[in-house]
């Protein structure tokens, strides 16, 4: 085994490790961004845009026996 072969193998190993770490970093879950996204969707679904969240909606069109 010549010195060049050994070096080439080492380079290949280094390249593999770098690729692996690169994939690992890319797969990391953006927890803060997900939380922000969840809050935006919850605002929409619960109609909380006007700040005062603990406001129970008046049943304007009384849902009543809506079947």
């Amino acid at each position: 085994m010549t010195a060049e072969t050994i070096l080439n193998r080492a380079a290949l190993l280094a390249a593999g490790l770098m690729l692996a770490s690169c994939v690992t970093i890319n797969i990391y879950f953006p927890a803060a961004a997900a939380e922000k996204a969840a809050d935006r969707i919850i605002d929409e679904v619960w109609q909380l845009k006007d700040g005062t969240s603990p406001q129970v909606k008046q049943p304007e069109a009384a849902p009543g026996e809506a079947k």
Binding site: N8, A14, L19, F29, A34, S53, P59, P63
Partner: protein
């Protein structure tokens, strides 16, 4: 030997450039037709669910769903309707979590998205609403 050095340099460049791009994206994509449609559907259903949250009939589970907590809080005649409401809501929620993960190119994030939502639904819930704590017990906010 030259080739090896060049290869390392090139890979190092790629390895540093990619995470940068990932970090640059501070927001998750939630503005797709599928996500918007689910949002609207859940928003409409919420007018029917809100009274059930207040009465304690329905509560928030720790896995990002809603569940029947107290069947006795619902008149017998309406129980079937409430169960259908819960099933439809959970179906939309599952689709929502899946669609957000997909829209961001990481379908494998779905459980993380679900866990994030589970925690946010509960912390944004109104006082008086019920949720499941870490050991699965119902707690009134």
């Amino acid at each position: 030997m030259r080739t090896a050095t060049f290869m390392i340099a090139a890979l190092a460049a790629v390895a540093f450039a990619l995470p940068q791009a990932a970090v640059g994206q501070a927001n998750l994509e939630i503005n797709t037709p599928a996500i918007n449609a689910l949002q609207r559907s859940m928003q409409q259903r919420h007018t029917q669910l809100a009274p059930l949250y207040s009465s304690g009939a329905v509560g928030f589970t720790r896995d990002g769903n809603v569940a029947l907590r107290d069947a006795k809080a619902v008149p017998l005649a309406q129980r079937q309707q409430v169960n259908a409401l819960i099933a439809a809501e959970n179906q939309d929620r599952a689709a929502l979590y899946r669609e957000i993960a997909r829209a961001n190119g990481h379908p494998e994030w779905e459980p993380d998205i679900r866990a994030t939502f589970a925690q946010r639904w509960i912390s944004r819930a109104q006082p008086g609403w019920y949720y499941q704590n870490a050991s699965g017990q119902w707690v009134r906010k």
